[in-house]
Amino acid sequence: MPSDAVPLLEISSLSARYDAGEVLQDISLTMHPQEFLCIIGANTAGKSTLLRCISRLVPRARGSIRFHGQELMDQPAHAIPGLGIAHVPEGRHVFPGMTVEENLCLGAFAIRHRPGLAGRLEAVYALFPRLAERRRQRAGTLSGGEQQMVAIGRAMMLEPRLLILDEPSHGLAPIIVEELHRALVDIHARGTSVLLVEQNTALALSVAGRGYVLEAGRVVLEGAARSLAQDPRVREAYLGL
């Protein structure tokens, strides 16, 4: 573990709140370059909120989030993709009236003026061959799994340094879930760091290298995915063993 290198992402003493109250308390999290990190936790633990803090979609947060040493807390949400962080939000957020290809091209919106759009498209189609077959189809008419592929593909059009995913497998058939996770492993193998929030704890721990466990807005456990999978608390609370 290159712990002496500059961390890719360094979150310290982060708290966040909505009108109803505090959701995250004193979160600290470090992610190294090339890592595949997962965050697990029960419903309402604050996983989505944590991701939304990173991409600056939660306005009321305190603390520090550094990406390659650069403070994100004073960046507006729309600047985040340009810095190399792509967020695939919870739910299948595609542009339903646009074709698959238009959806993907819009993903490179933040870097519109740089070359290589065609190459990026090809890379996404290589990742998800199903999308290549449906490139002219309206995204709203795709199956749930395919829409999730569009959302992930659109994020990859940025060629991000960090890919953030919020429960990509939620509500999808097991066979599609497997396909998605293979794609994530593939994305990681090609050099993108991945931060994955997943309800399916077993699956998350099988693909990630390291994990954090979030409970009621706090980090309660952190460690290598393999040892988390062995941890009695995790096994009982999240793996149902």
Binding site: H78, V94, F95, M98, L106, G107
Partner: protein, 321 residues
Amino acid sequence: MSRALVALALLAAALLPLALESEGYAIHVLTLALLFAALGQAWNIVGGLANQMSLGHAAFFGIGAYAATILQIRFGLSPWLGLVVALALGGLAAALISLPTMRLRGHYFALATLACGEVMRVIANTAAPLTGGPAGISVPFGAEGVWMMRFEGGRPIYWLMLGALVVVTVVFEVIRRGALGYRLRAVRENIAAAEAIGVDTARVKLQAAVISGALTAALGVLYAQFNFFFDPDTVFGVASISVRIALMAIIGGIGTAAGPILGALIVIPLEEFANAALSDRAAGLSQLVYGAVLIAMVLVEPRGLMALRFSWTFRPRRASA
């Protein structure tokens, strides 16, 4: 093919007044239809591209009409310069209204914008020293001449409105096809996804509102020069302006360039016809018939008349291609 068709329609529209009586009723109705087509098109930028159902566009329309007319009365300012002032004031007003309302969705946005138009109406009625109050305001008469937009007969102002419609339509199309159009479409289709790809959603909505408001105010100036006289209840009216503007696009087809034009060419003559044919029969009958026809149109095709055209002509063609 379709480009040639547009050019042909434009040529026909430009030559049409030569076949009509210069001071006649027909040219008056057509000029009004062109004005409302242009207004509907300006509204279409916000209502169609940004998908925000504004019912407050009378605010900008009236601001333009009043600003240019007051400047003409007090300082003899040419209405052409009045147009420039109106563009600036309309854009500014749109920014001020847009900033607090842009996060509202659906009905809430419609109601908030409606209230803004009403506030302007009350202000114009109250600020009598400046606006003439409820008694209204008249464009000063002067010598004929292009510089003061004072023309003989009804043809020049018809051509002026046609020109305005062309300009607003070109602006609409440039926006729709350009980067801003794509961003607006992204926001319209899925705001969470738009934010995720780095669209500054507040900024694109603001841009759309400012452009739409500026153009609407400029059209208010042309209305003043066309009608010579107006009062707060007319130019800031909910039914007379705000709803009517939105109606052009809704009847014709929201989000398409042809929609408001089609809508205005049908709705304005229909209004005039209902008024002329029925107003002496029974009070309110003309409005009743007019309203019934509008309801029927919306029931038959909620997406507007443009959608009918698409379903009739384009589907078979696509199937055979």
